[in-house]
Each structure stands twice: as structure tokens, then as C-alpha cells.
């Protein structure tokens, strides 16, 4: 099976700060990959490279190669907007637009110039069902998204991302701002989505990584310390630093 994502000796600097120091790894399609590590270890920076969300940060520059579906996404001929339709993102804090639920979900399609009402309505229903939110909101699609609870807002943000039909979804601590029940729902959702999407998730919660991911990467001070099957990382890590981190000795 070929790889969905491959990175080769990736470095990132913010001004003179060396945030990532030569990260090389590969991700297979239809898997969940978790990035763990203490705050400031570079895991979010690494994740945000995959849809070029670091481009707007002042002083950002990078080295190395990132290949998604066989294309170098930092190559000259890449259209960033096209890349982001392929590689969707769900953020740490739910960030719905101050619009209706419906308008939130169809936003990504509307900016592509799709205005056919039937297409939009169908996409809205499909995406909300995929995100396990449909039953809760189907009678109130015109309601403001800001009136939803935090957990519902985050599932709405996932639906919004799915509507664009990406092949890969990046999640930056998607449940860290949510209560345990909402978190459980999001985790369940991630496992369901795995069959159709490649998912990469940054998490602070090691139980979460253990529950949902196939492979786990442990980062420390900008370096990839260990990358292996999740089972191995949590039961039989090869590196001492990984062992210390997962047993809670630092971080």
C-alpha cells in the first residue's frame, strides 16, 4: 500500500527559532495517526505544515519535503487553496462562523462557486449525518451556529470540513476544549471517518491517542523521537524519552 503522506527531513524555523529539526515519517491512507508530546515540542507546527497553515506566520520558513498523494506540497506549482480542499482541518477551539448552521456547512462549497440549492442541501445533510450532528439540528438548520453547545459546534466544524470532500483531515487537539461526553462522541466519529479519510490528530491526551490511533509519533523539543504502531509506543517503547513521557515522568 502506497503512502498518503511522506515527509523527508523537514525543518521549520520561526525567525531564528528552530522549531522542527529534521522530521521524516510516512502515513498510510485510511489510518489514524496521533502526534503526542509536551507543549512546544513542535507537533502542532508539524501538523499545520500539511495544509500550509503556517504560511501566514511571520518569520516562518521551512526546509525538506512534504509529499501528499505524490506531490510536493511546497512545490512551485501548488495552489494552496486547492491543497486545502484536499487536506481539511479541524481546530482546537470550535470556530464556527457567526452564520446559520446551514451556511456554515455549505461555506466551503459556496466559495468553490457551487450555488445549486439541491446540491448544497444534499451536501449539508450528508455532511451533518457523517458528523453525527444531523439528528440534533435537522429541524433548526437556520439557527445560528453560535447557539450550539461546544461539542455540537466542534461536530459542526467537522461537518463543514467534510462537506468540501477532502481525502485527509488534520485535527489539532479537537477535543481539548470539550467535556468528556462530547469528547467520546468526537472519538467515536474519528473511528468511523477512518474508513473514508486519512486522519492525523494532535493530542495532549495520551489515553485518547491510545484509543483511536493506529500509529503514534512522539515529539520532543522539535525532534521526532519515536514513531511506531500505537500499541508498541504505549506498551513497549524503544526510546527512554518516550517511556518517561507516557508514564508521566515529564511533560
Amino acid at each position: 500500500m502506497s503512502h498518503k503522506l511522506t515527509t523527508q527531513d523537514v525543518h521549520v524555523w520561526y525567525g531564528s527559532f528552530h522549531a522542527l529539526k529534521g522530521v521524516t515519517l510516512s502515513v498510510k491512507p485510511n489510518t489514524v495517526t496521533a502526534f503526542i508530546g509536551p507543549s512546544g515540542c513542535g507537533k502542532s507546527t508539524f501538523l499545520r505544515l500539511f495544509n500550509r497553515m503556517n504560511d501566514y506566520i511571520e518569520g516562518f520558513h521551512m526546509g525538506g519535503e512534504i509529499i501528499i498523494d505524490g506531490r510536493n506540497i511546497y512545490g512551485k506549482r501548488i495552489l494552496v487553496e486547492e491543497l486545502r480542499k484536499e487536506v481539511g482541518m479541524v481546530f482546537q477551539k470550535p470556530n464556527p462562523f457567526p452564520k446559520s448552521i446551514y451556511d456554515n456547512v455549505v461555506y466551503g462549497l459556496q466559495i468553490q462557486g457551487i450555488n445549486d440549492k439541491h446540491v448544497l442541501e444534499e451536501a449539508c445533510e450528508t455532511s451533518l449525518k457523517q458528523a453525527a450532528l444531523w439528528n440534533e439540528v435537522k429541524d433548526n438548520l437556520k439557527k445560528s451556529a453560535l447557539a450550539l453547545s461546544g461539542g455540537q459546534q466542534q461536530r459542526l466544524c467537522i461537518a463543514r470540513t467534510l462537506a468540501v470532500k477532502p481525502t485527509m483531515i488534520l485535527m489539532d487537539e479537537p477535543a481539548s476544549a470539550l467535556d468528556p461526553i462530547s469528547t467520546a462522541k468526537i472519538e467515536e466519529l474519528i473511528l468511523e471517518l477512518k474508513s473514508q479519510y486519512t486522519i492525523v490528530i494532535v493530542t495532549h491526551n495520551m489515553q485518547q491517542a491510545a484509543r483511536i490511533s493506529d500509529r503514534t509519533a512522539f515529539f520532543y523539543l522539535g525532534e521526532l523521537i519515536e514513531y511506531d504502531k500505537t500499541v508498541n509506543i504505549f506498551t513497549n517503547p524503544k526510546e527512554e524519552k518516550t517511556q518517561s513521557y507516557i508514564t508521566g515522568r515529564f511533560g
Binding site: 511571520e58 487553496e81 486545502r84 480542499k85 481546530f91 457567526p98 459556496q110 468540501v164
Partner: protein, 291 residues
């Protein structure tokens, strides 16, 4: 030490109180003189007559003739200032390098610091002749030219406040939009401007307030002919210009002509008061939005 503190406190309270007293004083004088005016002229005539000729033998007191001049010039000004001001705000917020922003913003604000009489002469001696080259029917005095120039003057009101409003939109919304493949342009017009709409509306209302109260530009370039019209090519008179005309002329104090400027003044006051109230309401709504 304590006495000094108390003295400073009293001084500060006095300064604050003085501004309130001044405002109250102005309002009271406006009201007294207006009531005297409305004892002689019926409010129905004031609001429905279509002519305003207090200085002529055949006197008419239809404020609409002045209101239309004010609304016409202000409307043209907003028509110029809103698209340009908003474009500048979006440019500074989304596209410009931070250093560029630091230079452009103060430079733009200079526009608001130019004496308005200079704008007035600019309208009369540059813009009007220039426009006459394209529009043959344009009179020497008209509402189009001062309207455009007034629009340029109020650009910084809109650009500066709208930029602040756009800047206040949470970064997370911007990221959400970019993350779905939106361009900067799409993000600005579909997410940021709607999210900042209350702040932008406030900026527009304040700019309209400023345009309605503006005096010198219209006094110099719009003419002194009260006329109920929406034709931007002919001379008109605004409320403010009428007040200038009477104040500068040799109208007898306590005459009906003299009192008519207070009636005009209170009309102007009602306009700006209503606009300021609306903007305060919108602002309050805006503050709750992201908290």
C-alpha cells in the same frame, strides 16, 4: 497632600461638568429659540412645505428644501467613502505588510486634518471644472462635487474604524476560512466583513453624522439655493449652509428670520442625535457577540 488631591479631583470634575453644561446650554438655547419660532410658524408647514424662503418677501418655511440638500450631499459622500474606505480597510487588514499598515494609517488620517475650507475650494475650483468636462449640464454650484470631496474627507472615518473592526474578528475564523480553501478575498468578503458588520455600520453612521454636520465644503461649493430636489447637478443649500448664510448676514436678532436658524439647527441636532443613538445601540450589540 490630601488637600492637593482634593483640589485635583475638583478640577477634573469641573472639566467634565463643563462639557456637559455646555451641551445642555446649547440644547436649551436651541429649544427656547425654536419654540419661539414655532409659535409663529406651524410645525405642519415646517415639515410639509416644499420651499424655504425666510429671507424673501414671500416667506415659506419648508425645511424639506434644506433637508434634501443635506441628504443629497451626504448620500453622495457616503457613496464615495464607503467603497473606498472599506477597500482600504480590507487591504490594510488582509493584504498589507504590518509595516505598510503603520505608514498608511496615519497618512490617511491626515485627510481628516485638512481644514475643510481647503476642501471646499478644492471642490469649487478643481473638481467642479473637471467634472464639467464630462457632464455638460453641471452648474458651477452643485451637490455632486462637494459630495465627492466630502466623501474623500470622511474616508479615514470609515477606513480606520472598519479596519479596527476587521482586526477584532477572531483569528480562528480567518483560519477556518483559509483551512477550507478560501482565498484572502473570499475570506475578507464572506467571513470578515459579515463578522465585523456592526463595527463597519457604526463607522458608516459616524461618517454620515460628520457629513451631515459638515459646513464649509458645502457652503463654498454647493450654492445657496434651497431646493427640494434629488438632482445632483444643480445648486442646493444644506441646513448648515443656511445657518452660515444667516449668521454672516445682517439679519436682525429676535426676528423670525433669525429664529429660523435655530429651527434649522434643531433639525440638524435631531438627525445627528438619532444617528448617534443608533450607532451606540449597534456598538453595544457588537460587544456581546464574541464574549
Amino acid at each position: 497632600m490630601k488637600r492637593k488631591e482634593r483640589f485635583v479631583e475638583a478640577l477634573l470634575a469641573f472639566s467634565g461638568g463643563l462639557t456637559i453644561l455646555t451641551t445642555l446650554g446649547i440644547l436649551i438655547v436651541l429649544l427656547i429659540e425654536s419654540i419661539a419660532f414655532f409659535n409663529e410658524v406651524s410645525i405642519v408647514e415646517f415639515l410639509t412645505d416644499t420651499q424655504w424662503t425666510p429671507l424673501f418677501a414671500d416667506k415659506h418655511y419648508g425645511i424639506l428644501a434644506l433637508v434634501s440638500g443635506t441628504i443629497l450631499t451626504s448620500f453622495i459622500a457616503i457613496l464615495v467613502a464607503l467603497p473606498i474606505g472599506l477597500s482600504i480597510a480590507v487591504y490594510l487588514n488582509e493584504y498589507a505588510h504590518p509595516r505598510m499598515r503603520q505608514i498608511v494609517k496615519p497618512v490617511l488620517e491626515i485627510l481628516a486634518a485638512i481644514p475643510t475650507v481647503v476642501y471646499g475650494f478644492f471642490a469649487l475650483t478643481v473638481v467642479t471644472p473637471f467634472l464639467q468636462g464630462f457632464i455638460p449640464g453641471l452648474s458651477g454650484f452643485n451637490s455632486l462635487s462637494p459630495g465627492i470631496v466630502m466623501g474623500i474627507m470622511i474616508i479615514p472615518f470609515i477606513s480606520s474604524m472598519s479596519e479596527d473592526a476587521l482586526y477584532a474578528v477572531p483569528k480562528s475564523l480567518r483560519e477556518a476560512s483559509y483551512g477550507m480553501g478560501a482565498t484572502r478575498f473570499q475570506t475578507a468578503f464572506r467571513v470578515l466583513i459579515p463578522a465585523a458588520s456592526s463595527g463597519i455600520i457604526v463607522s458608516v453612521i459616524l461618517a454620515i453624522s460628520r457629513a451631515i454636520g459638515e459646513t464649509m465644503i458645502v457652503a463654498v461649493a454647493a450654492g445657496q439655493q434651497p431646493r427640494l430636489t434629488l438632482d445632483p447637478l444643480v445648486p442646493v443649500q444644506t441646513i448648515t449652509t443656511y445657518i452660515v448664510q444667516v449668521s454672516m448676514g445682517d439679519v436682525e436678532q429676535n426676528s423670525i428670520e433669525f429664529r429660523s436658524i435655530f429651527a434649522a439647527g434643531i433639525t440638524l441636532f435631531v438627525f445627528t442625535f438619532v444617528l448617534n443613538t443608533i450607532s451606540a445601540k449597534v456598538k453595544r450589540k457588537f460587544q456581546h457577540k464574541y464574549e
